[in-house]
Amino acid sequence: MKVLKLLIKKEIKIALRQRLIRIMAIIIILLLSTALWAGYITYKQQQENVRLAQEQRRSEWLHQIDKNPHTAAHYGTFVFKPKTLLSLFDFGLDTFTGTSKYLEAHYQHEFMFRPAQEYSSTIRFGQLSAALVFQLLIPLLIIFLSFNSFTSEKENGTLRLLMSQHVSYSTIATGKIMANLLILFSLLIPFFTLALIFSGSYANTDVIQNLSFRVLLLLALYVLYIIIFVTLSVWVSMLSKTSRNSLLVLLSVWVLFTVIVPKASTNIGTQTTPLPSLKAFRSAIADDIKNGLDGDLSAPERRKELEKTYLEKYKKDSLHQLPLNFLGISLQAGEDYAGKVYDYHWRKLEQTIEKQNSISSWASFISPYIAIRNLSMGLSSTDVNAYFHFHKHTETYRRNLVKKMNMDLAENSRNGEFFEYKADENLWKTITPFTYTTTSVKRVITYYFIEIIAIITWILLLLLAIYSYSKKIKPIYA
């Protein structure tokens, strides 16, 4: 233990006396601080924008003039995706998925106002977020910190001196790993502490569920990610004959992990399970609404069937004799069927994206970067899952709104009446304001279980590699 302590102390002293390491550490701290500060400003601004826009839309909904309820359903409303506190750390897909949605009868609109639209093509390389610093730049710092951890000892001859003191390879490796981790954590602990304090103070106000637990999980995962890179770098340095070789191998691995494997897995995913175009998606929905899904009746047949059902139910001969406005019933039935068709096609779309994502998940066993990227987005509620969850939530809200309007028309107006019947603010008030909370942590963990296993596997394999190599290593001075 004393030997280990000495080795750690020596490693830290030497690392801190290297100018390159000091400069890189300062740059990374500055980038991290800037990214977090910029993220916080964006978060605050967007929170305020969402609040103001929601208030305005709510006021517009409540104070709209008296009108036919179905027209009010078309007048519709806007809902806004609240920015989660953790999105200031990891922007994830928020920049590309949009922030608001227009809800109206018959039609599921796309998300609007994608922040990426306001950027140049450089957005393809990613925005500077704290997650980006953790996922891409800290591994680079680790590489520069550790690439020569063993090779410099070999090149300088100090390893021989260490061995003459009967210090084992595994003790030296442990010392180097621990020292590098201590250096990194001493740089990052202020950020980690701040994150915990910050999350604690926002725990009950943010839209994200289990905020403090998510922060703890994120910290734990990033600690594991850092351990992977430190262990990998020390192991490569142990295997390499020269520092130059070690650096080249590690930089190549970094490119493989962060560029090649993510791009390749995405390409394989899109090639093997391609998504339909928006036009094809929309037209398939329109066709199925018109002609009916497999085994279902066509739109005119469904209407006839509905008329028959209602006439039989009320034991009447014509629609005019019904105690309700059949137009409202018919509009709602159309809405229900359109919803069924939309759900069917949306589920297919989700399944395609899930298949694409599963390729990316399995690629975590080749690149730990993919694992941490997916988990980080998932826990920050900025991933595709969060997008689906919000989409589902808005669709439920839209359907409830439209149903209330249609049923009001059906139940409170005479048959055949449309523009003649007008509802007022008493009906508008029955629509509760839109609220949203994100998916649960349990769902995130279930969804990204492969990634968690991949991270644990990486650590175990690297530790096994480093210690089995320490034992097998042949005398270096033979």
Binding site: I14, Q18, S164, Q165, V167, P475
Partner: protein, 233 residues
């Protein structure tokens, strides 16, 4: 204190050390002379247990180095041809670190005292090693052996590349350690240094110890002609 019994090291068909028998007592400086590839450094590596013997035994303090690596290394201090220390640490920090590894932690004052005693200039003690000359680094090596109270000192070409003054200073330090009962095995090309410092001399060629005699029994000229005779054959 140091003993080689039929010590042999082979690399495939090549024999680096062949049936070496040698015994060095406390207070002796045994100088191994020989050309490059004679097996001098391999012998030192065998005593250090850096490499395993193919046959025979290397004993340190009557203990087989293979069976007791930890204990035997605890008795030895080793100074290679080019003692490389951690360049970004000062001489004092290097010494403190290696003493700590040897489980012999010393105070700052003690470390300073040992470095000064070993001939390192005062104003270099707190300077980083990258500004040290080779001679200064070798002095830190001697300081390390002193600090650890090592019973055995293994030296591999320690004076090669040192200027005469530094080389003399180094020899004086070795003689001082010899007086204190330290057993010293030094591999060297330097006939003059061997005659001047050693108590015993061995001449090695192609892994074999051809000569083993007391330094006082030969003059420098006899040593030179004996050495050259073996090298020519």
């Amino acid at each position: 204190m140091l003993q080689a019994i039929d010590l042999t090291k082979k690399y495939g068909d090549f024999t680096a050390v062949k049936s070496l028998n040698l015994s060095i007592d406390p207070g002796q400086i045994f100088c191994l002379l020989g050309a490059n590839g004679a097996g001098k450094s391999t012998t030192i590596n065998l005593f250090l247990n850096f490499i395993g013997a193919t046959k025979g035994k290397a004993l340190v303090g009557n203990m087989d180095v293979k069976a007791n690596p930890k204990k035997t290394k605890g008795l030895i201090s080793y100074i290679p041809e080019n003692l490389m220390l951690y360049k970004n640490l000062t001489g004092l920090e290097n010494l403190g670190f290696f003493c700590g590894l040897a489980r012999n932690p010393l105070s700052k004052d003690e470390l300073e005292h040992i470095l000064l005693q070993s001939g390192l200039q005062c104003d270099f003690i707190h300077k980083r090693v990258h500004s040290y000359s080779k001679g200064m680094r070798q002095k830190v090596g001697i300081a390390l052996a002193r600090a650890r109270n090592s019973k055995i000192l293994l030296l591999d070409e320690p004076t090669s590349g040192l200027d005469p003054k530094a080389s003399n200073e180094f020899s004086e330090l070795l003689l001082e350690m010899k007086e204190n009962g330290v057993t010293i095995l030094m591999a060297t090309h330097d006939l003059f240094r061997a005659k001047d410092t050693g108590t015993h001399i061995g001449i090695m060629k192609e892994g074999q110890l051809l000569e083993n005699f007391n330094t006082d029994s030969v003059s420098f000229l006899d040593l030179e002609s004996l050495y050259l005779k073996h090298m020519k054959n």
